[in-house]
């Protein structure tokens, strides 16, 4: 039986009818057609599906959609402004070569945002730990770490 859920998505209130067994990523990608959130494993192991819920980075592929009721959800689509101006973290990823195939990038950017919102001037170790749940196969992470460092100087 479908249930009604209310939450804030990228700053705007949404109301959806969904089967309670759905995960957040299924609702985001299939019902709301927000395909910026990627599914890399479906098991909560790779972090490609990372979104922010009340500011915390979570794996949306194992997050029950019912749990989002009344909460504030940010996906990658909510970061750049409507005029296409990139968030400083996104800009920094672009400028520091932190993007190759890009499949991990939305999740990586959001994990970085969760970190910088909480810890504006993180150490390298804090950066590494904050994105340790986001797997990347292309970059070897170093330019991502650099991008987050640079972004932290600009926010």
């Amino acid at each position: 039986m479908k249930q009604t859920i209310h939450f804030k998505l990228n700053g705007e209130p949404v109301q959806i009818e969904a089967e309670p067994n759905l995960t957040l990523i299924q609702v985001l990608r299939e019902k709301l057609e927000l395909t910026g959130t990627k599914e890399g494993c479906g098991l909560g192991e790779c972090g490609a599906c990372t979104v922010l819920i009340n500011g915390k980075a979570v794996n949306s592929c194992i997050f029950p959609v019912m749990e989002t009721d009344g909460k504030n959800v940010i996906t990658i689509e909510g970061l750049a402004d409507v005029d296409g101006n990139l968030h400083p973290i996104q800009r920094s990823f672009v400028e520091n070569g932190a993007v190759q195939c890009g499949f991990c990038t939305p999740g990586m950017v959001l994990s970085a945002k969760a970190l910088l919102d909480e810890t504006p001037k993180p150490t390298e170790e804090e950066i590494r730990n904050a994105i340790a749940g986001n797997l990347c196969r292309c970059t070897g992470y170093l330019q991502i770490i650099q991008a987050i460092k640079e972004a932290s100087k600009k926010i």
Binding site: K38, E45, Q90, F93, V94, L135, R137, G140, Y141
Partner: protein, 764 residues
Amino acid sequence: MQDFINIGKRIPKMDAEDKVTGKAVYIQDLKVPGMLWGKILYSPHPHARILNMDTSAAERLPGVKAVLTGYNTPLIKFGFYKDNMPLKANKVCSYRDEVAAVAATDPDIAEEALGLIRVEYEILPAIFDPEDAMKEGALLIHEEHLGGKEKKPTNILNLPWRLVAGDVDEARKNSAHVAEDRFKLTWVNHCCMGTSGCVARFDLRNNLTIYSNTQIPALAQRDYTEALAAMGLEGKKARVIKTTIGGAFGSKLDTYAYEYIAILLAYKTRKPVKIIFTREEEFFATSPRQPAVIDIAQGCTKDGTFTFRDVRMVLDNGAYTSWGATTPSVMMMPISSLYKVPNVRYVAKCVYTNNTYSQAFRGYGNPQATFAIESQIDALAEMAGIDPLDFRMRNANTPGEVTPQHFNITTCGLRECIDVVAQKLDWRQNRGKRDGRGIGMASMIHVGGGARVYKSDGCGTIIKIDDFGTVNVITGATDMGQGADTVIAQIVAEELGVRVEDVIVTHTDTDICPWDVGAHASRTTFVAGNSARGASKKVKEQLLEVASRSLGENPENLDIRDRTIFSKLDPEKKSPLGKILRASHYTAGGRMVMAEHFYDPPNENLDREFKGNLSVTYAYGTHGVEVEVDKETGQVKILKYVAAHDVGRAINPMLLEGQVYGGAAMGIGYALTEQLILKNGKVINPDFRDYKILTAADVPNIEAVVIETDDPSGPFGAKGIGEPGLVPTAPAIANAIYDAVGVRIKELPITPEKVLAALKEKTK
């Protein structure tokens, strides 16, 4: 050095903004109206005869539109050896064998339908060790496969990998020192973050369009066209459209069963069909790096000059044959031409087993061969009582050399690479202490100027310029994240005197893009770059000719800088590019500005003896590592990592460093943590919890040192760099571990368990 405007600049990737905002469309994101979902049923046994199949219950499930098996589909043979088919009939030979497929309106329904398919098997004995499978009387994977001179049934493939130069046996007799070892390498998975998938659809005239994340659009198109012919659709067309590729690393250098299954389902249902792999499928049903058993001997004189290298290999081919079976052709490269070795012998056998079949993976056999060669060099140097640094320097390749495999070494920065690594590690100071900390190095050679694997090594480019001075580059190259589009744009912008942001690179559609053999062999910057540069030159000639009329100046006196055509004699005589173009289009008898160029490098196919100048130029590199080994736990910690590469010229240092960091990180995983574990043919760790790729917390800081040798054949001097970063990583680490604690690990990955066991063995 020449002053460049766009070359050598850290220009962000052209598609980076789309990717950081989640707007890039991957195959996972693609929806086509009326689309069905395809799912595949795999074999539950590594080797079995199919006795009976009942798909009726699956067919009756509401939402199911088609159920296909090997018994109700036309026979399509595919793979390098044409020994594979999309859906297996009669017999299955591995756990990843596809036995049935379903198309349904919803992926859950398709999954449910798979559960309703009944297959009755007669389980057959299976064989998993390639050395066992080679033995006389071994059970046969493919009974009809004949081999050898007598054309007898055998599991050994008819691929005569054999390279001989000089007299190895004689050289061995005359060697002062000979090292002999056996190295073993296992399967590793590409772990592309975006799993495999495609969408196939037919139009009313039975022409196929397939959305795919292939690295080889033109060759895949040929495979699909052959499949159409096998389906009775002779003469029908196949169009390949690439979505954004979520990682490739060689995994998409071939066509696979799931693609043909999507095609068959789409044809059967007359609807678009999408297949996307789960991560579990990605681990067990895609093709990993080739495992190898390597017996190697190398010898040297008293003073540490190489006398010979003798290598025998057995490669586990798995149950079917992809291009992965040709990795020995690349293994020959380091075996014959890494350092100066006068006498060389290499023999490799690919053997059928009931394991998963392997494929190309960054380095294409080179990392396996280099692991054996470079690990053993340290052992040989020790026997000769020579510092391995001096040993390497003494034998290093040099410009002007012709190697035993007939490679013409043109530019070669190997000595510079070795030297800089030694300096960065403070080699003389830090080596040989055996105090738990150690340093090591290893070098590599790879093709850097394309590789003539096929009859052609070519790539086409079309360039046209529109009314506003926007430059459209339509290339055969494939961008799979490495940044080919950006590098091509930089090359074109440099040659044409425009800005990188004026250039739009299109590389996604076989109906539009010119031909290319694919993104392999680290060839894209070199081959597609030279192709783009050639087309730019032609377009520039046209532009200057068109401008000469409106500016009243001879073309030879004109040039272009920052989107403006100007007279070199009178700089006041100038006009913006767009204006010249508009004048050309809107004038009676006008013309458009457009040019094409096909660049096929002057390299050679290997001959019958596997000799020939495979590449126009060769890429060299050396990695150096400092490690700390915990003698209590066997844990290896990397303290310092230096990766020096002769890249010809860095067209985009930021993207180049990304290739080196990414390659080295993948190589560290190969060395220390990664292993696809097969137990009696079954992958038992098909997830990221149990298959350990490096995380951001694990990866050490890597210093990438760029050595520029300005190769005369490369676009603005550049060589390929896609694969090299991974090639020497594992032996450099193994050598550092030896220096730290005195144990030589000859099997990857070098897990703490192996280190501990070796330490125990040593103290016995």
